[in-house]
């Protein structure tokens, strides 16, 4: 799916919505490092969920904002986007 959220896109969202200076490659290489370790708090993740919902025009799964790692988050979000056929 071309619409799947990539680690690069997530890194951009972390920077833009929460000011977390994370390199896309770093996120791609370490998808199991927790958001907390990256410096992203729950409000930051909430903002990223809202940004993705605005971007894709469809609601994200409820648990997305509770994800602890980038891998967990991307799996949830991309499964949902695939299902919705976005």
């Amino acid at each position: 799916m071309t619409d799947a959220v990539t680690p690069e896109e997530l890194a951009g969202l972390m920077r833009q919505n929460a000011g977390i200076p994370v390199e896309p490659a770093q996120l791609a290489d370490h998808p199991d490092t927790s958001f907390e370790e990256y410096g992203l708090d729950s409000l930051g993740l909430l903002g990223i969920v809202a940004a993705l919902e605005n971007r894709h025009g469809s609601p994200m799964p409820q648990d997305a904002e509770k994800s602890r790692t980038p891998r967990e988050f991307l799996d949830l979000v991309n499964t949902s986007l695939t299902k919705s056929g976005a």
């Binding site: 920077r15 833009q16 919505n17 929460a18 000011g19 977390i20 200076p21 410096g39 409000l43 930051g44 909430l46 903002g47 809202a50 919902e53 605005n54």
Partner: protein, 443 residues
Amino acid sequence: MSTIRAGRSRDPSPGRTRDGGPRRTVVTGIGVIAPNGIGADVFWKSTQEGISVLDRITREGCEGLPLRVGGEVRDLEPDTMVEGRFLVQTDRFTHFAMAAADLALADARLGRADYEDSPFGIGVVTAAGSGGGEFGQRELQALWGKSPRFVGPYQSIAWFYAASTGQVSIRGGFKGPCGVVCSDEAGGLDAFAHAAGAIWRGTDAVVVGSAEAPLAPYSVVCQLGYEDLSTAEDPTRAYRPFTAEARGFVPAEGGAMLVVEEESAALRRGARPRARIAGHAATFTGPSRWEESREGLARAIQGALQDARCAPEEIDVVFADALGVPEADRAEALAITDALGAHGRRVPVTAPKTGIGRAYCGGPVLDVAAAVMAMEHGVVPPTPNVFDICHDIDLVTGKARRAPLRTALVLSRGLMGSNSALVLRSAAPAPSPRNPTRQGENA
């Protein structure tokens, strides 16, 4: 008796040190973010020289507003002040507070190693008058311009009055008593009373002060309703308290954070006390009732003197509120003589804020910083842009005046009716009759 203490105190009773002496509050660090300088030393140099930095307001979106002159903090790139995430997550007033707190902690040489074993021994108290207006404006524009779905979650914490206290506390790991004082502009002085109270009850140190950022479009529009705001065009004539030309006040951004500590704890860790917080009192006389603020301010001064066990004659310098509204200036000049008697007409009075503007709650905190350094240097800084005083006080204008200063009185009033007075004592040893030359020591 079982008592839960906020600090690591092993003291026998509240208000007493472990040696049984009184718990006194001293200033050990000063951090300044002001229109006339970043850092306490630069701020003091500009203040002492009486440099005025009042200028046309240049912030984006403010150009067409009828407020022309302000005191902007310009010599500072936000990304040099705080980490990138705070630029996104917090407002400019919090950037200022965090940067000022860093400077104050560095000045106090208070590092993590000093408190990592006792994080509950250090608290944070700020005063706030306008909160995060710039951040709030951006998010409210997203709300009404797009939809609620475009409002960022950090809005929920960034624009509130308590944001700076919270962020400074979290960032530094300060888990002691925290608070935010919302008592109008004079809250900048009340914050010191709260900090001293926490120290009296057993806390070792408090990071205390205020910084404001009210020069963004939404915040400026909020201020346009203040009849006491000066909308003059000429920066040198816009803010001239105590003169026949007084036409209101000029707003400013910035402020200061200080580290205050329990004196014996500070000395034990080798810190250098810069001054002592000796006494405070506050009163309330209602919004824009300037004539009534005479009695309110006089009562606050009397209360602060009593709290400090200080005679009126001991006051060596007064940092005036200096609102720049004729009735308010008259009330303040009379309050000074009401409270200090004949000494009130002789004591040097100054208002360095005429060179930088009034940073709301940050304003009186900048005056506290200036008062500490005035005592250290034995210099009363002048009142920029002000000449031809029309009140019966000895306002220091033109050039700074040298004088031995052991005790300073800082005054503040808010537009909503708060009046506060704070007494500061020099940290230098008290003069003794056997050693009279000490009197001129810091001159």
